[in-house]
Amino acid sequence: MRIFRRSVLGATLVAFVVLATACASGGDNNTKGAAGSSSGTKPSLTVGVSAAFPENQIVAEMYAQVLENAGYKVTTQEDIQSREVSDPALDSGKIDIKPEYLASELLFLDPNAKASGDPQNNADLLKPLLAQKGLDLLTPSAAQDQNAFVTTSDLASKDNLSTVSDLASVASGLTLGGPPECPKRPYCAIGLKKTYGVTFGDFKALSSGTLVAQALQSGDIDVGLLFSTDPTISADNFVLLQDDKGLQSAENITPVVRHDVDTSEVADLLNGVSATLTTDNITGLIAKVALQHQDPAAVAKLFLQDNGLL
């Protein structure tokens, strides 16, 4: 009897080990599953995406889905970190593709670069910098997403705020809310100080646009950093302070791909997606995810189908 009990214990443990190792081998990424075709000749690709921004998720999903549809095995690597992490990941090959924003990426690689409101200018400056690291910059889309400083309509009327310059005199008594990397970003705190002479009294780190909007609503912050495509700006009646001194530059959404995997087929597929994106339609897609809580993958799929890409 005792021997039987022990062998039951032993067998359970063995089964456990087998189960655990079998599961562990598939543990690391969100595997999307190949679209049925043999992935023998085509490489596996990893698309990097930030979980904190629906826009990022939607565009990354589009990239992933068109590639999958063409027979590639695609996985998405999701986290809440920022460029300081995803860039090295791209460099080292942990991810192969990610959606980027022209001016922000340019200034990240070269803080002294002369970014401007002209997408072509920014792309021309960015291309060689990326090439040095073995990365290719594909064709920018028409969709732009810039940093936008917003405030509530109450505060805007109280302090007479309609442009970012208007903040200069009152900022020391106000609280800014934005992503944790804001204090180190040239288009956020650093740029506000340099270009506008604006220094806020306090800063609250908020890890997503929705949290920024929520904090604006509750009065915990006075001015928030949102992205210009954020649907809450109009949904919550915020006032977008005009960038009158032109701090923000052209931030077109563009795929960045590792040179090793950048075949003409991959480039064509991704450029095909970029060609369909505009600031307006991407804002609409984001609204579906952020306000209606639809799944980014589903929203991306519908859009691609409507545009004949799937």
Binding site: A20, A24, T232, H293
Partner: protein
């Protein structure tokens, strides 16, 4: 001040969302169970030999308890964040952290369980000519099983809670929904993640209790006598 305009006007639980996302929910439950199972199993794999060594060589118990105690005391967010700098955003990082938290509880309970084996049982076994190894595997460990499994239960429930924190480094199991709920100001996701996590803990705890009863029928028989 009236909050909840525009984007925040929503019911506490959006049942349609739960229905629409059944596949993802299942995927995350499985991820959660996997992460927990691997952690507890690896924890046992490491703890067992260490505990038996400490049981036999008392002087080793002190240092082992201190080291595993320190590992247990390190806050989980801190440990995961620290490991990310070395092993990146991987399952490995999550597991190193999760396993570390199981060691103290498991080692402590294994040693305590072995300690609690009555002297008479040991004496009669040695009297019958059992070798040290036979004594350990046929007498001591089976008799220590209730306390050992009690430790496994605590370690497992603790791990299930900690897995949610790994959402910060891209894993998370059900913690993924909690993080999503927080970032998107979407209560349904957060509540779903938290509730399912609790249910999972309760169910797994009950299963382990049941298996303890199944594996140690003599414990109940004796208490009835």
């Amino acid at each position: 001040m009236t909050v909840a305009q525009g984007s925040f006007q929503q019911p506490l639980i959006l049942w349609s969302w739960i229905g629409d996302n059944r596949a993802e929910i299942l995927h995350r439950v499985i991820e959660h169970v996997e992460l927990t199972a691997i952690a507890v199993f690896l924890g046992l794999l490491i703890s067992f030999p260490l505990a038996i060594y400490a049981y036999r060589h008392r002087r080793a118990y002190g240092p082992i308890a201190v080291i595993t105690g320190i590992l247990y005391t390190i806050p989980s967010l801190a440990l995961f964040a620290f490991l990310v700098a070395y092993t990146g955003l991987t399952v490995t990082t999550a597991e190193i952290g999760l396993v570390s938290y199981t060691l103290l509880i498991l080692i402590r309970n294994i040693v305590a369980g072995l300690d609690a084996v009555p002297a008479e049982a040991r004496e009669s076994a040695t009297g019958m000519g059992y070798s040290r190894r036979q004594l350990l595997w046929r007498i001591e460990i089976p008799l220590a099983l209730p306390v050992i499994i009690a430790g496994i239960r605590i370690a497992t429930v603790t791990t299930i809670g900690l897995v949610t924190v790994t959402a910060i480094i891209g894993k998370g199991g059900l913690g993924h929904f909690i993080l999503e709920g927080l970032l998107q100001a979407f209560p349904t996701a957060a509540i779903l993640g938290a509730v399912l996590s609790i249910v999972l803990a309760v169910v797994v705890d009950a299963l382990l209790l049941f298996s303890e009863r199944a594996l140690t029928p003599w414990a109940r028989a004796r208490s009835r006598a």
